[in-house]
Amino acid sequence: MSKVRVLVGTRKGAFILTSDGKREKWDVSGPLFAGWELYHVNGSPADPNRLYASQTSDWFGQVIQRSDDGGKTWHQPGTPPGEPTTGPGGMPKGESNKFVYDTSPATGKPLTTHQFYDGKQHPWEFKRVWHLEPSLTDPDTVYAGVEDAALFRSTDGGKNWHELAGLRGHGTGPKWQPGAGGMCLHTIIFDPKDPGRIYIAISAAGAFRTDDGGKTWKPINRGLRSQYIPDPNAEIGHCVHHIAMHKSRPGVLFMQKHWDVMRSDNAGDSWQEVSGNLPTDFGFVIDVHAHEPDTIYVVPIKSDGEHYVHEGKLRVYRSRTGGNEWEALTKGLPQSNCYVNVLRDAMAVDSLDKCGVYFGTTGGQVYVSADAGDSWAPIVRDLPAVLSVEVQTLP
């Protein structure tokens, strides 16, 4: 019988929630890496036992953790304790938490500064890994979206990281600026039909696409409109919160922007708004049903100044028409006195026949729906604030 494994990152550690295909009874393990912020925990589609975790702290910086046994044991994939940190010839061996921006002449451009809150140029400074996206085909290849915004890749299981510098170097980098949460690259999506195509999103620069495996990039923000920037229709500067795609239809993208839910039918070349009848179109998460490419989910948040659900009611909104027409899903969710947020990486879907939908809140609840959103139940109620939720569907 199939199983599911839910990987939860929180402000104070990671948790792993497991259940059988009924998704009614759950085992909860954790906290892993207790006391640290776990921005993201994610599994390899090519080997579900291979997990990666971003462990981070304002005190101690960035740590990458890896599990090769589905989360039972973890290790930092760099140089093992007791071994020299340099190899033959004095070359440094793996340091799994070393994220150094590429400023080499080989990339063609000195990538030095971006716009800061005060409007002045500011040096790129690495702060943390927001998102880890393992390759669709190789467990040892994994991409990291980091703050300050850049994309890194490891091809040796997380031991060494190298920047795909063409993203920052494509031309608009000096105009990127941080959102309230920092200047983070938080979304990485691979096109399953085209290995060269990757989508990423940055707050607050916008969405970008490469068609050559990361060498060159272009902004894909036409049609986005953001009232809070000097030119509302600018090529970059939009605070994209999250993007989702269905694997069967990789040219169709759904976006939760700061305000506005958007859709693109041409791989991001242009976007149109599909907020429709949502009570508010501010929010962070967006996801797509595992088997219905036009069924999408969002959790509307009251406003950019009040980061909690609208009217004190925790409601997931579902559209079965790819946007514009939305229905509130409330069964099993608190409908009074609820003031939680659902952050951008904190929703996921499993691929069981009856699609499961999962999300975590800043109040520490993780909810599951085993019927595509019709009804919900809490798996856990009292975790630390949830930063990320991923789910693995296991045989």
Binding site: W59, Q62, V63, Q76, G78, T79
Partner: protein
């Protein structure tokens, strides 16, 4: 022999209990102690000092002999009591964040 006390989260990362004891060649300074610490426990690289600049992370401080040595030059000799192992070199997480 140099004794080093790490904050609990770094002891967990390094998989050590209690103090760390390091043998040091040459003069005991902040830099030589941290170099030796990171050589023996490579998983601590980047957690106390930046990988590239080797600057102390902002929320960590260094104490020894009841003195704050945080802002001492990295190549300044540490107190003799630290160099002889009588007193530990303390890496401390700052109280910050409310």
């Amino acid at each position: 022999m140099i004794r080093v006390i790490l904050p609990p989260h770094l002891r967990t990362l390094a998989k050590v209990d209690g103090e760390v004891k390091l043998e040091l060649e040459g003069q005991a300074t902040q830099r030589s102690v941290l170099d030796a610490l990171e050589a023996r426990y490579p998983m601590l690289r980047g957690t106390i000092r930046d990988h590239v600049t080797l600057q102390r992370r902002p929320f960590l401080r260094f104490f020894a002999c009841e003195e704050d040595l945080t802002h001492e030059p990295p190549d300044a000799p540490l107190p003799e009591a630290v160099a002889s192992g009588k007193e530990p070199f303390v890496v401390l997480g700052a109280i910050a964040g409310g």
